[in-house]
Amino acid sequence: MNMNDSIVSIQNVTKTYKRGSEVIHVLENISLDIGQGEYLALMGPSGSGKSTLLNLIAGLDQADSGSIEVGGIDITALSESELARWRAGNVGFIFQFYNLIPVLTAYENVELPLILTSLSGHERKEHVYTALKVVNMEDRLRHYPSQLSGGQQQRVAIARAIVTDPTILVADEPTGDLDRASAENVLELMDRLNRDMGKTIIMVTHDPWAGNKAHNMRHLDKGVLSNDYQDSHS
């Protein structure tokens, strides 16, 4: 891959956690480039460090050493409040358990990231309708999460992830809580976001079936990224 095409560039990142006096090495000297418009699946068994790597890319956690550039910005150099502002504009999150706010409607959940932007009320409305239309949930906008199925909730969560038109979409086990049919729908939607809208997607999963839906796959094991770069469609 040409380095100039990279939207995410990770160089020599290390991350450790302390459990009492014990130091656990979660990521060891990881280097990875993810290209613009890439749909990458990070695979690996539980505890391999894939979610930690995703959290570092998304600016939710800080690396012990190394650098992470996303869209040309070195996010390891940002302060906590700068990182929060950066996340609001550059990262769309898709979680395993959807993480919708239960007391807000589908419309309001999707609108949530937009209230941190300078958009007017009218512009926000347009963005929310567009995002809900993309995920085919425009007829459920007044529904609360408890009134939606798991698959529908995940689609609303995807609408929330794309509503700000972020630089990258990060998905942590997006199908982990869904039945096969709903999972198929969600993965199909993510594929469409990547192919039709050019969204860069980084998905963490331990499910090979879900991983195969991505266009590329990298494996993590015990904090070490394997060198093989697998095109899942080859």
């Binding site: 939710l60 999150f93 993480n99 007391v103 807000l104 990231p113």
Partner: protein, 388 residues
């Protein structure tokens, strides 16, 4: 940030029972707080409205109430001739030498008794108090054993109605009139001819002198004359100021009682709010993580949870004030510690009390919410997102 406001409101609505119980605890404290201040305000207003800005009261120097004061007949005569005394349209001096004595009367519907003020009046006494309105009967005839009673006395005491006779000072006194005096201390008094009452009580001296001042400078001129005349060991003051001073001790006592009681109660209410808010934070760790991940800063999270707590305080304040406002329809009586006489008055709700009670309620909400809100705002994002 309208959405964050909805978020807070809807979270409160989602846990209706907890919200109701926590707000009820705060409402109870606000109710007690407002009720006691309303009591103090009612007492103070009743006594202050008893006085008039145009009248001057003269008492013996160092006497703080009419009951403690003695004014000799010759002193009264000297004051009566002072140029500061105003005249009515008939050229009559608006001046009265008054006697204040306490008697004990039995209350209606109970075996207990209470002190009642008997005020010996002059012919100008009623004219100088425009708030006095006869509601039944007539004014007592000077030189007879006739009396008129304030409506609070007629309502609360035995044998004090129109046409009844009250026995005191070795005489039977016929009630020939009942008067209304608005919500003033006069409503709790019995009025009769000062000279008749002095004879009956074997008094040689008056308690106070009251007169209508000719102009605004009358008081200072009179005070200067008192200073230079060795016969006049007296003090003069505007009638309103005299009653204001009388109300201060009782109002201060009630305020201290109110603040002490509500301070103790409020600790309970604040702890209740704190438990509610800590539980709310504990139940929404994943939501907090999500909001933080979406880009909301620590201050946004702190504001959202603090807002919830302030709304709880606001609801409690509104409910407490609503129930306290009902007290305005209740008339109560208590012993005025300055005069040791029974005084009837109403709870009074003023804009100042509403402001104080709401500030107090919001303060409770803030105190109960700040620590949980800080905890919520300081949560680690990754750890919060792991909570499901």
């Amino acid at each position: 940030m309208r959405l964050l406001f909805y978020y807070s409101i809807r979270n409160l609505l989602t846990r209706r029972l907890t919200t109701l119980l926590t707000a009820s605890g705060m409402a109870l404290v606000v109710f007690v707080f407002a009720a006691i201040i309303m009591l103090a305000e009612g007492l103070q207003k009743t006594l202050i409205e008893t006085g008039s800005y145009n009248n001057i009261v003269v008492l013996r120097k160092s006497a703080s109430t009419e009951v403690q004061s003695i004014i000799e007949r010759y002193q009264a005569s000297v004051i009566e001739t002072q140029p500061e005394v105003a005249l009515d349209e008939n050229g009559r001096r608006l001046f009265a030498k008054e006697l204040v004595v306490l008697i004990t009367l039995q209350k209606k519907g109970s075996s207990s008794s209470a002190n009642v003020v008997i005020r010996g009046i002059g012919s100008a006494s009623v004219d100088m108090r425009p708030q006095i309105k006869l509601s039944a009967g007539r004014l007592p005839v000077m030189g007879t054993s006739e009396i008129m009673v304030g409506n609070s006395v007629a309502k609360r005491f035995k044998n004090a109605g129109l046409g009844d006779s009250i026995f005191f000072a070795m005489r039977s006194w016929k009630v020939v009139g009942v008067f209304e005096a608005g919500e003033t201390g006069f409503s709790s008094e019995i009025w009769g001819d000062a000279d008749q009452l002095m004879q009956a009580f074997r008094r040689n001296a008056y308690s106070s002198i009251i007169f209508r001042a000719r102009d605004a400078s009358s008081l200072s001129k009179l005070k200067r004359r008192f200073e230079s005349d060795p016969r006049l060991t007296l003090d003069a003051m505007i009638e309103v100021d005299y009653y204001k001073e009388q109300s201060e001790m009782m109002a201060k006592f009630l305020s201290i009682l109110g603040i002490s009681l509500t301070a103790i109660f409020s600790i309970g209410a604040v702890i209740g709010a704190m438990i509610t808010m800590y539980t709310a934070v504990a139940n929404r760790i994943s939501e907090i993580g999500t909001l933080r991940a979406l880009g909301f800063g620590r201050m946004n999270i702190l504001a959202a949870f603090l807002l919830e707590s302030l709304i709880l305080g606001f609801l409690g304040g509104c409910a407490g004030l609503f129930f306290a406002s009902v007290l305005q329809f209740i008339s109560v009586s208590t012993t005025n510690f300055q005069t040791f006489s029974e005084l009837a008055f109403r709870f009074r709700l003023s804009p100042g009390i509403i402001f104080k009670a709401m500030t107090f309620a919001l303060f409770m909400g803030f105190s109960g919410g700040i620590l949980p809100a800080v905890r919520a705002s300081r949560m680690n994002i990754v750890e919060s997102l792991r909570e499901v």
